[in-house]
């Protein structure tokens, strides 16, 4: 129900195609603009890296680095201002998280609620390995039995 300054979503378009939602007007403007770019290349590189980890909160699964939404642009500017002021990468990210919550992190933090998410893939691999081992053990026994 809430309005946004600009109906700017890019990836949503692909979603729209598949979902048959044509009409979600995409904004043809672009991500990072020349006036945003910091003079110090090291600062700019850090800003880009941070921007890739932060979600554009008004978009469908896009980082603020990719997004053309106005709020994403303002967040990119904020990230750069903080870097210039001397914040570390973690401090910049912590500030944005303090405002929008974990939702803005495209790489979810490891904590209680995300334990399953992070342990899951490792658990899947381990369980799979165990299953493989037991499968080959059983096959080995059957082969021995068959051999006798």
């Amino acid at each position: 129900m809430a309005d946004r300054p600009a109906p700017a979503r890019r990836i949503v378009v692909l979603l729209a195609v598949l979902a048959g939602l044509a009409g979600l007007g995409p904004d043809p403007a672009h991500a990072v603009l020349p006036e945003e770019v910091l003079a110090n290349p090291a600062h700019e590189a850090r800003a880009r890296a941070i921007s890739k980890e932060l979600r554009c909160v008004v978009c469908q699964n896009q980082s603020i680095d990719d997004s053309d939404a106005e709020l994403a642009r303002d967040l990119r500017v904020l990230v750069r201002q903080r870097i210039v002021k001397g914040d570390s990468d973690d401090e910049v990210i912590a500030y944005v998280v303090s405002r929008y919550g974990d939702f803005v992190l495209l790489r979810p933090p490891v904590k209680g609620a995300t334990l399953v998410l992070w342990i899951g893939p490792i658990a899947i691999v381990l369980i799979g390995l165990l299953a493989l081992i037991s499968y080959f053990r059983r096959a080995g026994r059957e082969a021995e039995n068959a051999g006798r």
Binding site: A2, D3, L71, S98
Partner: protein
Amino acid sequence: MSRRFLFLLPLVLIAALGIGFWFGLQRDPQALPSALINKPVPEFSLAAIEGSARGFRRDDLLGKVSLVNIFGSWCLACRIEHPFLMELKANGVVPVYGIDWREPDRQAGPEWLDKFGNPYRLVGDDPRSEGAIAFGVTGAPETFFVDRKGIIRYKHTGPITRDVWERKLWPIVQRLRAES
């Protein structure tokens, strides 16, 4: 034994996913709860809009229960809630402060307020989303409920209509006022 269980596992998984999806369907995936609930109002200081003497900053909110409303002349839903906000002001129900978010130019906000009326005690101009980001705003209108100590206690997303106000929002204001 365990072999039978292995063959049952996919059914269990799909059933669990199905239940999850069922409840997922009842939710709005875009509703984002505020990270600032029960946290002090963040430090911010916004300039005055054109034609107004005073801007709006954090300290203006201390000592009373108040509302902070994010709006913009481009925002259609803000137009919907506007008459009701005017009513709140006329009846002196609760002070409402405005953050004029991302206007296309310096005049758009003041013109909008001149045309329809100004329901706000103070308005801060926020062309670069500094105020909006401080409050963790994702869209307009959004309204934050601030208690006497300057703690954010509730966030309402979407227009404030009479119905929502009477059902949900007025009781919150009363509760905050009842606190010492």
